[in-house]
Symmetry: C2
Subunit: 387 residues, 2 copies
Amino acid sequence: MNDKSVYLDNAAATRLDERVLEAMSPYFFQTYAVATSEFAYSQGIEAKEALDGARGRLAGLLGVTPEEFIFTSGDTESSNIALKGVAKALGKSKGRHIITSRIEDFPVLQSAKALEKDGFSVTYLGVDGEGFVDLDQLEEAITGETILVSVQHSNQEIGTVQDIEAISKICRSRNTLFHCDATHSFRRLPIDLSRVPIDLLTVSAHTIHGPKGIGGLVVRKGTTLGKLMDGGFQEFDRRPGLENIPGAIGFARAAELVDEAENDRLRAMRDHAIWRILNEIPSVTLNGSPVDRLPQNVNVSFHFVEGESITLHLDMRGFAVSTGSACFSRSLQGSHVIYGIGGDHERAHGSIRLSLGRYNTLEEVDAAVTALAEVTRELRKISPLGK
Amino acid sequence: MNDKSVYLDNAAATRLDERVLEAMSPYFFQTYAVATSEFAYSQGIEAKEALDGARGRLAGLLGVTPEEFIFTSGDTESSNIALKGVAKALGKSKGRHIITSRIEDFPVLQSAKALEKDGFSVTYLGVDGEGFVDLDQLEEAITGETILVSVQHSNQEIGTVQDIEAISKICRSRNTLFHCDATHSFRRLPIDLSRVPIDLLTVSAHTIHGPKGIGGLVVRKGTTLGKLMDGGFQEFDRRPGLENIPGAIGFARAAELVDEAENDRLRAMRDHAIWRILNEIPSVTLNGSPVDRLPQNVNVSFHFVEGESITLHLDMRGFAVSTGSACFSRSLQGSHVIYGIGGDHERAHGSIRLSLGRYNTLEEVDAAVTALAEVTRELRKISPLGK
């Protein structure tokens, strides 16, 4: 490993903030009681208060009540609970139809596919060239049998931000539950559920320099939801298992450490990188919206060259960037997101994503873009794809 | 909170060992790549190697290959995957009958109950007065429709250790999968799967001074298992979600830090406590086996007095102990385990569990027993239950 390597992929946001660990530390070594012991002894009360304090802080940031926020092991579990929980609760009464989009992240997409095998029907909404769901198409797709619409807030690869307020209103007016995967947008973009009627919302700590292994799911009051796992009564009887109190405390602290100034700084670095790439490198396409875009996301496709080759050459120069989705990078399949926005094989295989985090500097971003320009130039010289 | 309080309940084992945090630390701040990025850049390889290193060390301690050990968010998830995964895989082909015991912990028990609602039939084996499953009854219960036997290694409340070698052999001879919940025995008692044919085994880090939010499931080669969650391809496509590498590293380190000398020390403290309680306090019954017992477990029932009152009075004296199960302590229901071993209402409600960990001293245990003797004497003076 190159010790000076610069993380410019999804991992950039998973570097733990030292202040988060500091906040967690007392719950490793001093207050480590089991929260469900609250009726047995006083440390149990303290543990329960710590857990509920973290819950309340996160709920407050989202505009919901503490009782509407449950902790999970991460966004994968949260989205699984949302989709399968609604299917379980309403599949035998209201109907067996679910609507999602073609460019969702894998926890939603694969849960939907699993439900298809269980006899549910799923509509996969198409998106336009920038990745936006067509709201008219959504309206048309909803039937009396539709029990859930699951559309992400922002895309995991190309950063496109959906109009979730409009989607939520359509769902509300058609009496259909709405789940929104906000894994990548939580704290990077405003989300206020006191104003926007979203029934279920997935969030995670690992995208904001919080600990791995902890996430959350908003379940608005009155939402009927079956259980994915069975065991104890924890998390309002919605998610069993020993409470991960250090994780919950770390999640809340991480959420509070993100502020608008930081998001503005990321936005500026993002646009600087995009501007330089589009102007200094020939034959390149921006993937996703130039406007409604995650502050931390850059995604471009280079013609006449494979994304895999670019990442390897950038790695040798000390820059860690990604192609496609982190979940599936080993598969060498083209990105389903790039195909979803109408990209062809070349564009899907030539895409490169930079994800920016708190610890990235403009200097690093500049150096990465310069390296990117050199690497693509060199690779195109020897490319069998022509130029 | 009383800062000098002594944890003598399940929480005692959840205090993180400083050496575990030290082992995790590089994966918070230096090597925080996503393991599935292994094909994109060199930090991904390093992250993957760290994850697989932790996996290999844990697998080695259990006598299985690394490919047979998957990480989960904890024992609740592991047991849910085991029961529901087998049900999903074999419920439509081999049969819909499952066997478990009446005194299992809630993840197994409630998963079994959830499967009953889905049309599976479940046999709940009774246990004898010390908590042992009757092997003849098990043999008789297995039919051609039986797809899984799930019996715990040791009991979460009374510490009774089942003869899992004998159970595994019965299951093997009858061609039925065997899941064993080893949450409380992992590293406290020998478990060697290279010798004992157990198909699925649940373990967790939180019982051995490891981090919360990480557990494991052994899935022996050739075991057909459906998925509980859908998403990415992680953990050999058995458990999706961003890998919790710091958690995995912490789990492996915690497992290695337990040794026979420590288990012997716990055993000695346990027997010292039991001996003193039985000899110095009148009208008390030991729950569980006096011989085949978890090294860290003491469980006794006091006549003429409520366990809840004892815990509150001990709390005031600075000792944190539990009644019944941590998962259900808020319910004030009598322990299903004590009822399972034939205890009546009084015994179920008068039970107290001490759980010992690395940081407990003999001096603390002695002080707790002395306090217990005083508290029970005082409570019995005013008890409405008579004496």
